[in-house]
């Protein structure tokens, strides 16, 4: 006797009649993850990512100094170091070696200068020279790595007990890691926007243009550009001169994004970042620059109000 195993309907017809059962509870857990992110982020008024298409342009330095500038304005600020493999925000803020405190409410972020709350992969590492290494064989299949990093970012958004914040600044890794901006946009649909860091170099601005267009493609509004290493600030006479040749104004105009400010190369700032001794006061001209950029960001985020007031 033979039994016919041929289905009487095609798969599309069969599926149209069935209701998907989440009996393995995978979808439920993914929904729970999303809700947890929403719950945490709901207590943060403004969320901004700092990004660039290029590495080495000073994203982390910009993030740290913007955080300080906002904190000087009296805001409660958090910094999320999304550069999982090259976290350096803690070092710049003098917070190397600090750890999360795991509580039933989540991971309490270490608090740094001016009350800035910081979350970074660095807080999980054995020491400041230890690389981020994941369990799992890269030889068998490293395909899982992107998904793992996305879920680690999701945990950074969902599991940190930030409390009430006026602003969360997220320092993204270089643009080559093209999955991070869409991951952030996906997790944070209410993201206020991206601050894009560039330098006066045609090579950099070419790549930065791509990242601005890419950010828009994935639904991240671009708040504006910051040109870093924009000239050299002489520590002796205070004179500022060009270090490289660039034209960020025309790039900003072409892309129709505001130029938020230009930050000159400043030896003292560089040394302070390396040494974990951030500039806390606005006394230095370079710190004042970041105060001005912070003001412009506030203006850009509140542009409707400004238009209403001034038009």
């Amino acid at each position: 006797m033979s039994v016919s195993m041929a289905p009487s309907h095609d798969l599309k017809t069969i599926l149209s009649k069935l209701q998907f059962p989440d009996d393995a509870q995978v979808m439920r857990q993914i929904v729970d993850h999303t809700l947890q992110v929403k719950m945490r982020m709901g207590r943060i008024k403004r969320k901004i990512v700092v990004m660039s298409g290029k590495g080495g342009v000073g994203k982390s330095m910009t993030t740290v100094n913007l955080a300080l500038a906002f904190a000087r304005r009296g805001q409660t600020v958090g910094v999320l170091d999304v550069d999982l493999n090259g976290p350096c925000v803690p070092k710049m803020l003098g917070m190397s070696g600090r750890r999360f405190e795991i509580t039933p409410d989540g991971a309490a972020p270490p608090v740094g200068p001016l009350g800035i709350r910081v979350a970074s992969m660095d807080f999980f590492l054995r020491d400041e020279h230890a690389p981020v290494r994941w369990k799992g064989s890269m030889e068998l299949s490293p395909v899982w790595l992107g998904m793992l990093e996305m879920n680690v970012i999701r945990e950074f958004l969902a599991d940190i007990a930030w409390g009430e914040l006026d602003l969360l600044l997220a320092d993204l890794p270089p643009g080559a890691a093209a999955d991070k901006p869409p991951a952030m946009a996906n997790f944070l649909p209410e993201l206020d926007g991206a601050v894009v860091v560039t330098t006066p170099s045609e090579v950099t601005t070419d790549v930065v243009r791509k990242s601005v267009l890419y950010a828009r493609d994935v639904g991240i509004p671009v708040i504006g550009l910051i040109e870093n290493m924009s000239g050299y600030h002489c520590p002796h006479c205070g004179h500022e001169s060009d270090l490289f040749v660039g034209n960020v104004e025309s790039v900003a105009a072409d892309l129709n994004v505001p130029l938020l400010g230009k930050i000159p190369f400043d030896r003292e700032l560089s040394q302070r970042c390396d040494g974990g001794r951030p500039m806390l006061e606005s006394a230095q001209p370079i710190a004042k620059r970041f105060d001005d950029v912070a003001q412009r960001i506030v203006d850009c985020l509140n542009f409707r109000q400004i238009v209403a007031d001034t038009l």
């Binding site: 195993m5 289905p7 009487s8 309907h9 798969l11 069969i14 599926l15 009649k17 069935l18 998907f20 059962p21 009996d23 393995a24 509870q25 995978v26 439920r28 857990q29 993914i30 729970d32 993850h33 750890r99 999360f100 405190e101 795991i102 509580t103 989540g106 991971a107 992969m121 999980f124 590492l125 054995r126 230890a130 981020v132 290494r133 994941w134 369990k135 799992g136 064989s137 890269m138 030889e139 068998l140 299949s141 395909v143 899982w144 790595l145 998904m147 793992l148 879920n151 680690v152 999701r154 945990e155 950074f156 599991d159 940190i160 007990a161």
Partner: protein, 238 residues
């Protein structure tokens, strides 16, 4: 992912998840109508992918804790002085984890080891310390251009560790040298290699050559391909 019983036109229902071997998951489904049972078995790469999702198939049995995926997956997590965390013990009763059953840092280390792969066999996972070298071995090392010397030294030491040696001699360098020589492939072996889907061919070639070197072969032959096939089938439980 769901399975559909085409005969009964019904979704098969999740029954249980188990760990039939290190680095693999077996997810069992049952057709509610004809009661047919199927088990989907994952290979190590797929298991890793499932783990990366950060979900427990079949649902959670313990309350979630902050950063559980990050902390469980960081290779150096055990050394990270994060405040006391008891999730590991609690998780033992949870959905079977593919990690660290053997105490190694790679969840598939025992699988890979059982295949004889060198993937995790290159010495201590936590930064190997230098081995001792004989004077003759050091002399030979000194003849290598200085810009590649650190790489060669690390590779020879990794090979020595894999061989269970803690002292590098001239003979050890010769053996290591043998592993770096390019292997010849017979046309028949090459033809059989081409039967493997292109996207996994480089991985398979590397693994077959490693097995051949372990057997002291200078050439990959059809016979070697048979041996590799048996080893792969054994690994997959075939």
């Amino acid at each position: 992912m769901k399975f559909v019983c085409l005969n009964c036109e019904a979704f098969m229902l999740f029954q249980k998840v188990e760990q039939p071997g290190e680095g693999t998951l077996g997810v069992e489904f049952l057709c509610p109508t004809c009661k047919a049972r199927f088990s989907m078995v994952t290979n190590p790469g797929e298991t890793q992918m499932v783990q990366a999702l950060g979900v427990k198939i079949g649902g959670r049995t313990t309350a979630p804790e902050a950063f559980e995926l990050t902390r469980d997956t960081l290779k150096d997590g055990a050394e990270c002085p994060v405040p006391a965390f008891s999730a590991s013990a609690a998780r033992a009763a949870d959905t079977p984890s593919t990690g660290d059953a053997a105490g190694g840092s790679c969840p598939f280390s025992s699988v890979v080891a059982s295949m004889g792969s060198g993937a995790s066999a290159t010495g201590s996972e936590n930064g190997p310390t230098s081995l001792e070298w004989s004077a003759e071995a050091l002399d030979r090392l000194a003849k290598i251009p200085d810009f590649v010397r650190p790489t060669v030294r690390a590779e020879v030491e990794a090979y020595a560790r894999k061989s269970g040696e803690s002292f590098v001699t001239q003979a050890m360098i010769d053996q290591y040298k043998g592993t770096t020589a390019e292997l010849a492939w017979t046309s028949e072996a090459t033809k059989r290699l081409e039967n493997i889907p292109f996207f996994i061919r480089p991985m398979a070639k590397k693994e077959i050559e490693r097995m051949a070197r372990e057997q002291g072969r200078a050439e990959v032959t059809a016979d070697m391909m048979d041996h590799a096939k048996t080893a792969f089938a054994k690994f997959m439980g075939g």
